[in-house]
């Protein structure tokens, strides 16, 4: 099998071409923070947490959407990257209304874990405190836009795995929102199959089952990859 040589953090690796930097790093136990990445669905480079430095490239590139090239010299652990990761995490928390202590996902939230990883002890940016609706119109699930970080994992899983495309995105910038159908209440959606995959894909407490309380949330994001693997085997 053809391999190419790359360098990550001054160490040489022989890897198969066509893989993303993130895949190579994960295979070799090199830690890269991610939030919008979910195995089994397409990467979009939305969260900007997996940025890496590549020698000869002025800007930082997202590891999940950049493929390895021969003789690439990559750095994942510079002070600049750590600074950016911290800024990005702070902005996640400042943009909407995240209150871990009363969140249904407390203790089981990827955003909360990210905060611990980057050593988040305070946030330097003013909180926006947007007025966000809680969409409780679905009979089983709740969509709380206060806790959404716009990773769009729900949008992609609904489209690529379930094939329903109930979820999509409207507006731009800080006004961006995940919407159901053409911005109708979730419970009135004509495309939603109530499969619950979006719930498992959601990294925070934005989508959760109605009848549970804090401590009972049991999301299984890994089932998305499993589903895709099983489907591939059947084909």
């Amino acid at each position: 099998m053809t391999t190419i040589t790359i360098h990550i953090n001054e160490k040489e690796y022989q890897v198969a071409p066509g893989k993303t930097i993130l895949e190579v790093c994960r295979e070799n136990d090199i830690e890269i923070l991610t939030m919008c990445h979910l195995k089994g669905i397409m990467d979009v480079g939305a969260c900007r947490l997996c940025l890496v430095e590549i020698e000869g490239v002025n800007r930082l590139l997202s590891a999940c959407t950049t493929k390895v090239g021969a003789n690439m010299i990559i750095r994942t652990d510079t002070e600049r990257i750590k600074r950016y990761q911290r800024i990005t995490t702070e902005l996640f928390f400042a943009e909407r209304n995240h209150v871990c202590s009363v969140c249904v996902a407390n203790g089981k939230c990827e955003l909360q874990q990210l905060g611990y990883k980057v050593g988040l002890d305070h946030i330097r940016y003013p909180f926006l405190y947007p007025q966000c609706e809680v969409d409780s119109s679905h009979p089983w699930y709740v969509m709380d836009h206060n806790r959404c970080i716009m990773c769009t994992r729900c949008v992609r899983v609904c489209n690529e795995v379930e094939g329903a495309h109930n979820w999509d995105v409207m507006n731009r910038g800080y006004q961006v929102r995940v919407i159901s159908d053409f911005n109708t209440p979730w419970g009135e959606s004509i495309t939603c199959t109530s499969c619950g995959k979006c719930l498992h894909a959601c990294p925070t407490g934005a989508i959760w089952p109605k009848a549970i309380v804090q401590g009972q949330l049991n999301k299984k994001p890994e089932i998305i990859e499993e589903l895709m693997e099983k489907r591939a085997m059947k084909l």
């Binding site: 249904v104 809680v134 401590g215």
Partner: protein, 479 residues
Amino acid sequence: MASIEKRKIIISPVTRIEGHARITIQLDETGAVDEALFHVNEFRGFEKFCEGRMYTEMPTITPRICGICPISHSIASVKACEMIQGIKPAYTGNLLRRLIQLGQNISSHALSFFHLSSPDFLLGYDSDPASRNIIGIANQFPDIALRGIRLRKFGQEISERITGKKIHIMGIAPGGMAMPLTAENRKALLDWIPEAKETVRIGLEIIKKFHRENEAMVKSFATSPTLYLGMIGENGEQELYDGNLRFIDTDGTILQDQLDPKRYLEFIAERSVNWSYLKYPYYKPFGFDKGFYRVGPLARLNVASKMKTPEAQEEFLLFKAIGNGKPVHGTFYFHYARLIEALCSVEEAEMLLNNPAITSTDIQTHGRWNYNEGIGCAEAPRGTLFHHYITDDTGKLKNVNLLIATGQNNPSMNRSITEVAKQYIHDGTKVSEGMLNRVESTIRCYDPCLSCSTHAIGQMPMEIDIIDKDGKLVDHVIR
């Protein structure tokens, strides 16, 4: 001498209570006490910002009102949720919730008595305020301080052994509990019972000794009669977790018995006042002026016909003898009632832990939104607590009403401090620190929980401003 005219003495902050408050003592032209006002100057707004949230989030959000009695909020909240879902909790789940609530009651009463109030009894009302606190107790009575701290720890240990957390626990869910009690943890808690009982007995001895040595003061300390409200069991026994309500009048005549807490709005009304963020609830049939009622340990013992456990029942009979068949109105007896309750809670916790079903995994039933309205009630350490939710047809909250124990005691606290201020302050120009401490201690009798995030233990300075009627500062004293 400066013209006295009408002046004010302001005690701010009130120390050794849970939360932030201020007392203003208004003097008349002769320098005597005209009126005392108890201000709660923190605003939380939970009822408003919970609107729009899901009802199932309330057992998690409302305990954040307070770090001392979060479990009472959780329990009142899940009961309201269970009414919305139309379900009953699982048998063992219910036992575990009851056990956790007893733990909180023990912990809170230990905090109130040993940490916050015992310095007055053991060190004296007029002792140096710099050391009149738990640290001073630790220096002079290290064994008592340690026991008090460990009793509080025992109460919290119950929560930790079941849910993994001491404060703001997870796991109290509509339908019961999310996690069971293991046999190992059950044994660890049972091993702690004898020490906990002994500590409460020591506390009882301290307060009874103080009663004997200060009989005149104890019997005359804010004794205005009020109505009382408390939860009772099926046979009129004192109850904290699950029961109906009883109102009695100033003579002990039962006004309402076995009242379903869901009917609370028929009997309790509230009025706002312009000097405090705490509302003024009153017994509706008697109107605002005559409807003052009290809740909490004193009220629960006054309304109860008996206690559930043998040792607490013995003390209960001694307590009832004080009133000679009538309700005990003396505000100072709150402390005694609190310790009798703590004893009952330890004994009841032992009974529950000895129940083989306590380690069963039959802990939760499940339901979903069915009804628009839910009312939950529990006895918090400081008194009867109501949670009332109205939801839309998807389970989102449209209206939230939280009737908190301290709120219900507010009118009486105000009246009590006026009484004590009049008793001890005769000349507004000669106010000693000890006199002001007595006024403060009236508030501590009620052990108010002012939606606390900060627990003052006597380290904050007490500032006294004497202000003339034009608002000019005449004198300023820092303790």
